[in-house]
C-alpha cells in the first residue's frame, strides 16, 4: 500500500517537474501550474525582498504577464494565449482585507471558443500552500464571480494565475489581439516583473516601455522547429509609486505599451523570411505618410458646402475680406453647418456631438484651404496624456492639427461647438510633431516642434470689489469679474454660458432654422421646450454657483447675479468673462471696537504642497499659466487698516512667481496677488523652487487684516 502511494507520488512529481510544451496553445492546466506554482525560476518563486519594503502594506513578489500568438497552419487559425501570474505578500490588515475578495470572469477573452484556467492558492510563511476551491465562488452581476479567500492572514502570499487560450478563426488581417497599456509601478513595490510577448512571423509587434522605460530584450527562440520571436522586459526591485500632485506616469515612469496585430501579408502560403517580421519601438515616417497623405486629396463632396459659403460671403458683401478673415468665416460656417445648427436639437435629444462630425468639418476645412489656395500642413501629434510623442508606436495613437501657413500661423483642431478659431489644444503643445506636407503630388514628412503657449496667454484675471456693511451683521458684498484667456477657457463655455442664445444668434446669422426657439416653435410643443429651456438655465445657474464655490473655496449660499459670456475675437482677445455678485457672512469678526477681516480668503483656495513631501517625479502640468487677482476693499468710515505688511510677497524663480502687495488709496484697500507657473513641465529637482512660491501663496489664504477704530 505504501509502495503504491510512493509510486503515485513519484509519477505526479515527474509530471509536475517534466518538460513543458513548446507552445502555450498546447498547455493544459497542469502545465500552467508547472509554469507558475511549481516553476523553479526566481521570477515565479522568489520569496526574498529588501528589508525596507516591510513598511509597505503588500509586495508583489511576482508580476508576470505573457502573451503568445501563433498561427496554427493546419487549420489556419490564430491562437492567442495569455498568462498572468501574480504573487503578492500581505504585510498588514489593510492588504489582507483588500485581497480577501477575489474577482474573476470565466468566459474566454478573445475568440469563439477556448480555455481559461484560474488557480488561486494561499502560501503560508512556512511554505505550506493551500489551493482555494472555486466551488464557493458566488455570482455577481454580468456573470462576474466573487470568491472570499479563506484562511488569509498577515504574512501570507496570495498566489494566483489566470491563463486564457483563445483559438479563433475570427482573427483577420489587422486584428489587434493583445493591446496592453499600463504603468509598471504600482502602489506596492515589485520584486520581479516580467512581461513577455512571443509570436511567430504572422504578427506585427509594436512595443515600448516609454521614454523613461526599461530595456526590451529581443531574441529568436526556436520551439518545435518553428522560429519564434520574443520580446521581453524583465526587471526586479521596482519601487512603489507614490501619489503626488501633477504626476503623469506615462510621462515620467516606465510603462508597458504593446500592440500585437495579425498581419495580412504573412497570411499567404508563401511565408516571408524572419527578417520581415515587424518589430517596432517607435512610429515610422512611412506609416504617417500612408495614413495622412489622403488629407491632401480634395474631397469632391465638400464642394457644395464651399459653394454655399461663397454665396454666403457674396450675400453679406464679404467677398473682399482678407484671406485670414475668410478662413475664420469658413471655419465657423462649416462648423455651423455640421455641428452648431443642430446643437440645440442634439442636446434636447441627448445626442451630443460626435467624432464623425468633427472629422467631417476637418475634411471640409481641408477642401476649403485648397480651394482658397491657402497652403497648409498636417501636424501629426500624440496626446501627452498617453505618453511622450517619441513613444508613439501605433498610428492609431496619433492625432493631428492643421497648421495653416499665413502671416501669423493658424492652427485648427477638431472643434466642438465652442472651440475658438485658431486653437491649439494644450495636450499637444511642445510635441515634436511629424509634418506631412504636400508639394504638388509629392508628399514629404518632416518634424516640427509645436510651440508651447506662454503663461500670459493662459490667464485668469480676477477683479473684485468688496463692500463691508458694519450695520448689517458685518455682511460682505462681493462683486467679481473674472476673465479667462487661452487654455483657461477650455471646458467652461458649454458648462457656464447660455449656449442656446449663442446658437440661435448663429442660426440667425446663417439663416438656418431656430430649432427650439420659443418664437419659432409650434404651440403644442412649447410647454416641453419651455420646460427644457428652464432646465438648461437652472443647470447653468447651478454650475455657476459651483464654479464660484470652487473659485473661492468657500460655501457661497446664493449668487445674487451670475453670468458667463464667451467673447470671440483674435486669438489674443478671446475671453470668457464670468461675473457674479454674492454676499458672505462670517468673513468679519468684531473684536472689541475693531474688526478682523479674513481678507486672504478673497483670493480663493490655492494649491497646497505638503510640508515635507520629497518630490520623486517630474512635475507635469497642463500648460503654463498665471492667476491675477485685484481686490478693492472699501474701508468703512472711521476705521484704518492694520496688518498690511503680512500681505506683501515677492518670490520669483525659474519655475514661477508669486507677487502680492497691499496699499491704501483714498480709503480703498487695494490688494494685488499674482501667481505664475512659467512652464508646463518642471524637472523633479525644481520642486523646491516651486514650493518656494506655492507655499506663501497658500499661506496668503489665511491672512487677516484689522480694521482699527480711529
Amino acid at each position: 500500500m505504501r509502495f503504491i502511494g510512493l509510486l503515485i507520488f513519484t509519477l505526479c512529481s515527474i509530471q509536475l517537474v517534466g518538460q513543458l510544451p513548446d507552445f502555450y496553445s498546447d498547455y493544459t492546466e497542469r502545465d500552467v501550474k508547472k509554469k507558475t506554482w511549481f516553476s523553479e525560476e526566481a521570477v515565479h518563486n522568489e520569496i526574498e525582498y529588501p528589508d525596507e519594503w516591510n513598511k509597505y502594506s503588500a509586495i508583489f513578489l511576482t508580476y508576470h504577464v505573457s502573451h503568445e500568438a501563433i498561427e496554427d497552419n493546419k487549420i489556419y487559425t490564430a491562437i492567442v494565449s495569455s498568462l498572468t501570474h501574480i504573487r503578492v505578500k500581505l504585510l498588514d490588515d489593510a492588504a489582507v482585507s483588500k485581497f480577501s475578495e477575489f474577482y474573476y470572469k470565466m468566459e474566454p477573452g478573445i475568440g469563439n471558443f477556448g480555455d481559461k484556467y484560474i488557480g488561486i492558492r494561499v502560501v503560508k510563511p512556512n511554505g505550506s500552500a493551500t489551493k482555494v476551491s472555486k466551488s464557493e465562488a458566488v455570482e455577481e452581476e454580468d456573470g462576474k464571480m466573487k470568491l472570499a479567500i479563506p484562511d488569509l492572514e498577515i504574512g501570507d502570499i496570495l498566489d494566483y494565475y489566470i491563463f486564457d487560450k483563445s483559438p479563433s478563426s475570427g482573427i483577420t488581417n489587422g486584428t489587434y489581439v493583445a493591446a496592453d497599456r499600463f504603468p509598471v509601478q504600482d502602489e506596492y513595490p515589485i520584486k520581479n516583473f516580467e512581461y513577455i510577448v512571443t509570436c511567430d512571423n504572422n504578427w506585427e509587434v509594436q512595443f515600448t516601455t516609454g521614454k523613461n522605460g526599461y530595456k526590451i530584450n529581443e531574441s529568436i527562440v526556436k520551439e518545435r522547429g518553428k522560429k519564434m520571436l520574443r520580446f521581453s522586459v524583465k526587471e526586479s526591485d521596482i519601487p512603489a509609486i507614490e501619489s503626488q500632485i501633477w504626476q503623469n506616469p506615462y510621462l515620467s515612469a516606465p510603462y508597458i505599451k504593446n500592440y500585437l496585430k495579425y498581419s495580412y501579408k504573412n497570411m499567404s502560403y508563401e511565408k516571408p523570411s524572419d527578417t520581415n517580421i515587424l518589430r517596432k519601438t517607435s512610429l515610422e515616417e512611412e506609416e504617417i505618410e500612408d495614413t495622412y497623405t489622403r488629407f491632401y486629396f480634395p474631397d469632391a463632396a465638400a464642394r457644395n458646402e464651399y459653394n454655399a459659403f461663397k454665396k454666403f460671403l457674396s450675400k453679406n458683401n464679404k467677398e473682399n475680406i482678407s484671406k485670414e478673415r475668410k478662413l475664420e468665416e469658413y471655419f465657423k460656417f462649416i462648423r455651423h453647418k455640421f455641428m452648431n445648427m443642430h446643437y440645440v436639437h442634439d442636446q434636447f435629444h441627448n445626442e451630443g456631438f460626435r467624432e464623425e462630425k468633427m472629422e467631417l468639418i476637418m475634411g471640409h476645412i481641408r477642401y476649403g484651404l485648397q480651394a482658397m489656395d491657402i497652403p497648409y500642413e498636417i501636424l501629426v501629434v500624440a496626446n501627452k496624456d498617453i505618453g511622450h510623442y517619441e513613444d508613439m508606436i501605433n498610428v492609431g495613437e496619433t492625432d493631428y492639427v492643421i497648421k495653416i501657413n499665413m502671416k501669423n500661423d493658424v492652427y485648427l483642431y477638431k472643434p466642438d461647438p465652442f472651440t475658438l478659431f485658431n486653437h491649439l489644444p494644450y495636450r499637444v503643445e511642445g510635441a515634436n510633431a511629424f509634418v506631412v506636407d504636400a508639394e504638388g503630388n509629392d508628399i514629404n514628412v518632416s518634424r516640427f516642434q509645436i510651440p508651447i503657449s506662454k503663461p500670459e496667454n493662459n490667464k485668469m484675471n480676477h477683479v473684485s470689489t468688496i463692500d463691508l456693511d458694519l450695520d448689517n451683521h458685518e455682511k460682505i458684498s462681493v462683486n467679481t469679474n473674472i476673465k479667462l484667456t487661452g487654455h483657461q477657457i477650455e471646458n467652461y463655455p458649454e458648462r457656464l454660458c447660455n449656449w442656446q442664445k449663442m446658437i440661435w444668434d448663429e442660426n440667425k446669422k446663417y439663416g438656418t432654422k431656430l430649432w427650439g426657439h420659443p418664437d419659432e416653435y409650434k404651440r403644442g410643443d412649447q410647454i416641453k421646450f419651455q420646460q427644457y429651456q428652464k432646465d438648461v438655465k437652472k443647470d447653468i445657474k447651478e454650475r455657476l454657483k459651483k464654479y464660484a464655490n470652487n473659485h473661492y473655496d468657500l460655501e457661497i449660499k446664493e449668487l445674487k447675479k451670475a453670468s458667463a459670456k464667451l467673447k470671440s475675437g483674435s486669438k489674443e482677445s478671446q475671453v470668457l468673462e464670468i461675473q457674479f455678485d454674492f454676499d458672505l457672512e462670517n468673513m468679519v469678526k468684531k473684536v472689541g471696537p475693531n474688526y478682523i477681516v479674513k481678507i486672504g480668503q478673497m483670493v480663493g483656495g490655492q494649491v497646497t504642497p505638503d510640508h515635507d513631501e520629497k518630490r520623486i517625479y517630474p512635475i507635469c502640468m497642463d500648460y503654463p499659466r498665471m492667476y491675477n487677482y485685484q481686490i478693492e476693499f472699501k474701508i468703512p468710515d472711521g476705521y484704518e487698516v492694520d496688518g498690511l505688511e503680512e500681505l506683501n510677497n515677492d518670490i520669483d524663480n525659474e519655475t514661477g512667481h508669486f507677487k502680492s502687495s497691499a496699499k491704501v488709496e483714498e480709503n480703498i484697500l487695494k490688494i494685488s496677488f499674482e501667481k505664475m507657473y512659467k512652464h508646463n513641465y518642471e524637472p523633479t529637482e525644481n520642486w523646491e523652487k516651486m514650493k518656494a512660491f506655492l507655499t506663501p501663496a497658500t499661506k496668503f489664504n489665511s491672512k487677516e487684516i484689522m480694521l482699527r477704530k480711529k
Binding site: 502594506s57 480577501s100 472570499a148 416641453k528 473684536v591
Partner: protein, 624 residues
C-alpha cells in the same frame, strides 16, 4: 352620415386635448409637491392575495400597477422589482427591455437577492408611462412587510390585502398616523379585504444618518399566524415560540464539530488567570482573526454556518462568528448561547413574531445571574462594552426548547469619552508650538483603532498626523507616539509634537491668538428642511483642554466670553481662564443619546451659529 362622424371626431379631439391639459397641470402640481424629484407616480396600486398552488402550496401573490409621470424633460428612471430564493417575479411589464441580475448592497458580500430592472426614458415633461408586475412569495415566512413609501414619490397609492377566511393574519400598522393615509376593512368573498390609501407620499429620503425606514415610513407588517393548505391547518408564527421553534430547527441542522477548535481554545486559555481572562482571550481572538463577511442567501440567511468551517476559512457572517464564539466558549467550559436580535436600525421587538424583527446574531455568555453579550463583528470592542447599534435592543437567547428574552444594557456616553489636551506657547514666526495628546475610550477608541488598522502601513503615520491636525495643512505633527491600541486597555492615546502656523496674527503691538485647532462641530448646521432625526454612530463626549503660556513681554488684554448650551439632546460648554502665567481653554460637547431629534434641529442650528462666532474670537495680548 357626415353629421354623426363630425361630433364623434370633435369629442375625441376635445377629450384628448383636455387629458393632455390635465396631465400637464398634474405634472406641474406634482413638481411643486416634489421639487427634488424628476419623476412621480400618479397612481399606484398594490394588490396582495393568497392562493393555493398545486406544486408550491400556499403562496402570496403581489401585483403592482403603477402610472409614472415625468416631472421634467428627458427623464431617465429605473423600474425595479426584487426577488430571491423564496420568491419569484412572474410578470414584469415595464415597456422597456429588462435585465435580470444579482443585486449588490453595501456591506453584504453576497445575497441571493436579484433584481429585474428596466431603464425607462421619458422624453417629454408630463409624459405618462404605465408598468405592472407580479411577485410571488413561495414561503409565506418571507412576506414580512409592505411599505406605502416607495423609491419614487406618489400622488395616490392603494394597498389592498385580501385575507382568506382560512388564514389567520395580523396586519400591524407602523407610522400610518403621521401620513395622509386612510384604511378600511370590508368583507369579501370568503375573505376580509383591508385597504390602505395614501396620498402625496414622498419617496424614501436621502437625508444622511436618518433613523431606519421602519421608524419613519408607513408600512404594514405581516404576522401570519396560520393558514390552511390542502385542507390542513398549518401554523407559521402565531407566537414568539413559533419563531424560536423555527430558528431552533435551523440550529439543529448546523452540524458543528468542535474538535478542530479544541487546540486553539486550549492555547488561548492556557495562561488565563481567571474565567474573565479566558473569555476575553477567545472573544478578542475571534474579533482579530475571523473576518466579517456578510452572506444573505435564502435559508443561509438564518442558519449559521458550522464552527469548523468558519474556523478553517477564517471568515464568516454574524451568525457564523456567533456560533464559533459559542462553541469555543463551550470548549472552555462556559455556558454560551446563540442570540437573535434586531439592531438599532429596526423598530421592532419580539412582541411581533416575524422574520422582520431580526437582522443580527451574537453570542450570549451566562455570567453569574445574567448574560454578557459578545458581538465579535465589532472589532476592538472591549468585553465590558456594547456597540451603540445593539445597546437597548431586545434579544432572544436560546435556552433548549425554550428561549429567554432580554434587553442589552445601555451605556452612558461617558464611556466613549475623547479628550484632547494641548500645551502650547508662541514660538518663532508667531507659530504655536508644543505637544498634543488625544485620549479615547469606548466606541471613540474602537472607531479610531479600526481606521488605523485598515490604513496601509506606509500611510499610517500620515493618517495619524492628519487625525491629530484635523486635516489642517497649517498644522504640523511630529514625534507621534501611540499607546493602548489593544483590546484590554480601556483607554488609548495618541500624542506628538504640534506646530500651528497661521493661528497668531500680529497687528501693531498686539497678538491675536486662536487656541482651538479642532473647533468641534464648527459650521455643522443642518438643512432647515430636515425631516427626520439625525442619528450618530455612537454617543459623544468630547473635551478639549489647551494651555497656553502667556508670551513673554505681553499681557492679556482680552479674553473671549464663555459659551454654553444644554437641552435633552446636546450640551456644549466653552470657556477661557487665566492664572497670570497661563491661559487655559476648556471646551466640552456631550451628545448623550447619539441623536439630534428633528424637534431640536432649529435650536442646534441657532446654537451652531453662536458656536461659530465663539470659535472666531481670539485672545488678545498687548506688548508691555
Amino acid at each position: 352620415m357626415m353629421n354623426k362622424v363630425f361630433p364623434i371626431f370633435l369629442l375625441f379631439f376635445f377629450s384628448h386635448s383636455s387629458l393632455a391639459q390635465d396631465r400637464f397641470s398634474i405634472a406641474k402640481e406634482a413638481s411643486n409637491l416634489f421639487p427634488d424629484d424628476e419623476v412621480a407616480i400618479l397612481e399606484s396600486s398594490i394588490n396582495i392575495e393568497f392562493k393555493e398552488d398545486r406544486s408550491k402550496g400556499k403562496i402570496a401573490v403581489v401585483r403592482y400597477d403603477d402610472e409614472y409621470i415625468a416631472l421634467q424633460n428627458k427623464v431617465k428612471f429605473y423600474y425595479t422589482k426584487f426577488y430571491d430564493g423564496e420568491s419569484e417575479i412572474t410578470a414584469f411589464q415595464s415597456g422597456a427591455p429588462a435585465d435580470d441580475d444579482y443585486y449588490n448592497s453595501d456591506g453584504i458580500f453576497h445575497s441571493d437577492v436579484r433584481v429585474i430592472y428596466s431603464a425607462i426614458n421619458l422624453r417629454d415633461f408630463a409624459q405618462i408611462h404605465e408598468t405592472y408586475s407580479i411577485k410571488e412569495y413561495h414561503d409565506l415566512r418571507y412576506l414580512t412587510s409592505i411599505y406605502l413609501t416607495q423609491p419614487y414619490p406618489c400622488l395616490k397609492r392603494k394597498i389592498r390585502i385580501v385575507i382568506p377566511e382560512d388564514m389567520k393574519v395580523n396586519l400591524l400598522q407602523f407610522n400610518l398616523e403621521e401620513f395622509d393615509i386612510s384604511s378600511k376593512t370590508e368583507d369579501g368573498k370568503k375573505s376580509v379585504i383591508y385597504t390602505y390609501s395614501g396620498t402625496n407620499l414622498e419617496s424614501f429620503t436621502n437625508e444622511k444618518d436618518a433613523p431606519g425606514n421602519s421608524y419613519i415610513y408607513p408600512h404594514i407588517l405581516f404576522n401570519i399566524e396560520s393558514y390552511s393548505e390542502s385542507g390542513k391547518q398549518k401554523t407559521l408564527f402565531s407566537s414568539t415560540d413559533d419563531l424560536y421553534g423555527w430558528y431552533s430547527s435551523l440550529v439543529d441542522k448546523i452540524g458543528n464539530n468542535k474538535e478542530p477548535l479544541r487546540k486553539q481554545v486550549e492555547k488561548l486559555t492556557a495562561e488565563a488567570q481567571s474565567d474573565k481572562e479566558k473569555v476575553e482571550s477567545i472573544f478578542y481572538w475571534v474579533q482579530n482573526n475571523i473576518r466579517y463577511i456578510a452572506f444573505e442567501d435564502g435559508i443561509a440567511g438564518f442558519k449559521p454556518e458550522n464552527c469548523q468551517n468558519v474556523y478553517k476559512k477564517k471568515y464568516g457572517d454574524c451568525k457564523g462568528m456567533a456560533n464559533l464564539m459559542k462553541q469555543m466558549l463551550i470548549i472552555a467550559g462556559f455556558d454560551a448561547r446563540l442570540t437573535w436580535m434586531g439592531t438599532k436600525s429596526l423598530a421592532y421587538d419580539y412582541t411581533t413574531p416575524s422574520l422582520a424583527v431580526d437582522n443580527h446574531m451574537i453570542c450570549a455568555l451566562k455570567w453569574e445571574d445574567d448574560f454578557i453579550y459578545l458581538d465579535a463583528t465589532e472589532e476592538f470592542i472591549n468585553i465590558d462594552s456594547y456597540a451603540e447599534r445593539i445597546q437597548g435592543q431586545a434579544v432572544l437567547i436560546e435556552d433548549g426548547t425554550k428561549y429567554i428574552l432580554k434587553t442589552i444594557p445601555i451605556s452612558s456616553h461617558e464611556k466613549n469619552k475623547r479628550t484632547y489636551e494641548l500645551n502650547l506657547e508662541v514660538g518663532a514666526e508667531n507659530k504655536l508650538e508644543g505637544n498634543v495628546e488625544v485620549k479615547f475610550s469606548g466606541e471613540a477608541k474602537t472607531s479610531l483603532m479600526q481606521y488605523v488598522k485598515y490604513t496601509e502601513s506606509n500611510k499610517k503615520e500620515e493618517a495619524i498626523a492628519d487625525f491629530l491636525s484635523y486635516g489642517d495643512n497649517n498644522i504640523k505633527i511630529t514625534d507621534i507616539e501611540e499607546a493602548g491600541f489593544d483590546h484590554k486597555s480601556t483607554q488609548g492615546s495618541l500624542k506628538g509634537s504640534i506646530e500651528m502656523d497661521e493661528y497668531v496674527s500680529e497687528f501693531g503691538k498686539e497678538l491675536y491668538v486662536y487656541l482651538d485647532p479642532y473647533k468641534l462641530y464648527e459650521q455643522s448646521e443642518f438643512r432647515k428642511e430636515r425631516k427626520f432625526d439625525y442619528w450618530m454612530s455612537y454617543k459623544k463626549f468630547e473635551t478639549i483642554t489647551v494651555k497656553l503660556k502667556i508670551p513673554s513681554g505681553f499681557t492679556l488684554s482680552s479674553i473671549p466670553e464663555p459659551i454654553s448650551f444644554q437641552n435633552e439632546d446636546f450640551k456644549f460648554n466653552g470657556k477661557y481662564k487665566e492664572d497670570g502665567q497661563t491661559i487655559e481653554y476648556n471646551f466640552s460637547v456631550e451628545i448623550p443619546d447619539a441623536k439630534i431629534s428633528v424637534d431640536n434641529i432649529n435650536s442646534w442650528n441657532d446654537f451652531n451659529s453662536k458656536l461659530d462666532e465663539f470659535y472666531e474670537q481670539p485672545l488678545i495680548f498687548k506688548q508691555q
